[in-house]
Amino acid sequence: MKKIEAIIRTSKFEDVKEALRNVGIDFFSYTDATGVGNEIRKGELAYRGTVYDTSYIPRQSLTIVVRDINVQKTVDAILESAKTGVIGDGKIFVSPIEESYRIRTAEKGDASLYNKED
């Protein structure tokens, strides 16, 4: 069981959601993420004659926990669908999960994860 965290462009969120659905990943959680980085937005923002830069970069953060066999296809789907080729496309982090429980039934392990064939 692995946790896949992906930081993606907000503009790519719908594409990624669609791509994940196509490989059978229907369940995940996501949050609005704000970051600081190298992205240059100079000259875009001006208020009352003063050009400024908030330096806040908006992104979406996805958290997906999958069975080991599903890790590669999930990662591939995100890699393909979130890419624009321009700096700032984001990152994917994969880490192991020690245990997982489904609260309703107290099932644990792989059984506690969503399974399309159930």
Partner: protein, 515 residues
């Protein structure tokens, strides 16, 4: 089925109403042509009024039209308070929304109380007969001094708490002039927003309506010395200010300037090298709606200042007002877009429209529409250059541009009257024969009078504002909130409640870092 029941009900209603009213004797008058006849004239013999009765009725109706006009336009001006509240709050930060709104809310009652207690008496206690409102002459006590053989009116002394003036004309005048005063009062709440102690503001609110505004108002509108420069020294018609570019807007603008200079810039506004940081307003849509409420209210402000619905010049006044607002907004949009940040900055478009309105306020009745367009055009550029100058050269932080809009363009409006008045209106203004004529139409002395008006406003309001703000500072232990409260936003420490309760906001990031 339901459809048929509805249809049946409608049929029954129509037929019953026809049936009930068909045979009744008094015929209804759907077109209005027969409503209002000789029978409506108050007469001893109904329907057969005498000549005297007719004349009395005509006079009554004339004053009635004027009074209804004064009251309705006064109601429009009152609504401008909402416009000011929205522009000022929209152009400031979310963490101060309840505080900025509260200042704009309380300035209305506080200023009104000050005006009721003594402001009205000081301003209009010596105005004499109220021509367009029926000629009541009870407001006839002006305190004067004699210099060089001339009588200088300084302030009125009749009508404290409106006592001794239980007269319909005085009450109409009070309502109209009260809402004008409140326009002045609410201007400094913009330039001093986001750092002004509420206690300090509250005292100011009373004093501006009671003393600061009425004294200058008396000099121009209440029969005081600035209005008498015409027949005392042959300077045109004395200082002429139709609807208050100087009396209302410049007074507010100068107070805004003095207040903002004394209270200092907001935390984070300037970097160590003196360059300004942007502190974006949190709600541009709110500011735009506020701007439109103000522009709408201005149709009361300017045309209402005729104090007479029977003075048909009001259509010219209204069109001049709207044209100047358009050219002001247009010029400011274009100026930012082409020459400044290359963006048609919304907050500057708002300032530009208001600047055009402020500038046309004094001359609106005396200039032709082409000149009105030009006056607005100039004001749209002037407001931006003034805002930049105040922010970058003088280092005075004015979050909403109140000084540039009301102070600078108020002065421009008064001077523009002295330049462009075309001599088609204002016969007998301030007791001087002939129409009001500006420099470009042949009367340089009018321009000199206007210059004196502007200079006097700066000196008097500047000095008075400085003294009042200093005294208030002593009473409330400084006019400014602590830096800690400012960083957290004034809503909770000053008002005890949040403008947007339950909405998460990053209060610290709303204040830029001074680099």
């Amino acid at each position: 089925m339901k459809k048929y029941i509805l249809l049946l009900l409608m049929l029954v209603t129509v037929s019953v109403s026809n049936y009930v009213y068909a045979d009744n004797a008094p015929k209804p008058d759907p077109t209005g042509v027969t409503t209002g006849t000789a029978k409506d004239v108050t007469a001893a013999k109904p329907g057969k009024p005498t000549m005297d009765e007719l004349a009395a009725q005509a006079g009554h109706n004339k004053v009635a039209i004027n009074m209804v006009w004064v009251l309705i336009t006064g109601f429009l001006v009152m609504f401008m308070q909402a416009g000011f509240a929205m522009v000022e709050t929209g152009l400031t930060r979310a963490k101060n929304a309840a505080h900025t709104m509260s200042m704009n809310m309380m300035v209305y009652p506080l200023g009104m109380l000050g005006f009721f207690v003594c402001g009205f008496a000081i301003m209009f206690g010596g105005i004499g007969s109220l021509g367009t409102l029926g000629g009541f002459g009870g407001l006839a006590n002006e305190f004067t001094i004699n210099i060089f053989g001339h009588t200088f009116g300084l302030f009125g002394t009749k009508g404290f708490f409106l006592s001794g003036t239980y007269d319909v004309a005085v009450f109409a005048l009070f309502l109209f002039e009260m809402v004008f005063m409140d326009t002045t009062a609410t201007i400094p709440t913009g330039s001093m927003a986001e750092r002004w102690k509420f206690s300090s503001f509250a005292i100011y609110g009373l004093v501006v309506g009671a003393i600061i505004y009425p004294i200058f108002g008396n000099w121009v509108w209440g029969g005081g010395w600035l209005s008498q420069l015409g027949h005392m020294f042959s300077l045109g018609h004395g200082v002429v200010d139709f609807a208050g570019s100087s009396v209302v807007h410049m007074t507010g603008g100068v107070l805004a300037f003095v207040g903002a200079a004394l209270i200092g810039p907001r935390v984070g506004k300037y970097n160590k090298d003196g360059s300004p940081n942007a502190m974006p307003g949190h709600n541009i849509p709110m500011a735009v709606i506020g701007c439109f409420i103000l522009a709408f209210g201005w149709f009361g402000f300017n045309p209402g200042s005729s104090l007479a619905g029977g003075d048909l010049r009001i259509s010219v006044v209204a069109v001049n007002t709207m044209i100047a607002s358009a050219t002001g907004a247009f010029a400011s949009m274009l100026y930012m877009w082409l020459f400044k940040t290359k963006k048609p900055d919304p907050s500057m478009m708002i300032n530009g429209m208001l600047a055009g309105l402020v500038a046309i306020t004094a001359p609106c009745a005396f200039v032709n529409v082409q000149c009105a367009a030009l006056i607005g055009l100039v004001s749209g550029v002037l407001v931006i250059e003034a805002a930049f100058f105040i922010e970058r050269k003088l280092k005075i932080d004015d979050p909403v541009g109140a000084i540039a809009v009301h102070g600078v363009n108020g002065a421009w409006g008064v001077l523009a009257l002295g330049l462009f008045a075309d001599g088609s209106y204002g016969d007998g203004w301030n007791g001087v024969k002939g129409t009001v004529t500006g420099l470009f139409y042949g009367d340089p002395s009018q321009f000199i009078a206007q210059l004196i008006g502007v200079t006097t406003n700066i000196i008097y309001v500047g000095a008075m504002g400085w003294i009042v703000f200093k005294i208030i500072g002593l009473i409330t232990g400084g006019m400014r909130v602590s830096a800690k409260d400012e960083l957290e936003g004034l809503d909770v420490p000053e008002m005890g409640t949040e403008g947007y309760a339950g909405i998460k906001m990053d209060k610290n990031s709303e204040t830029p870092l001074s680099r």
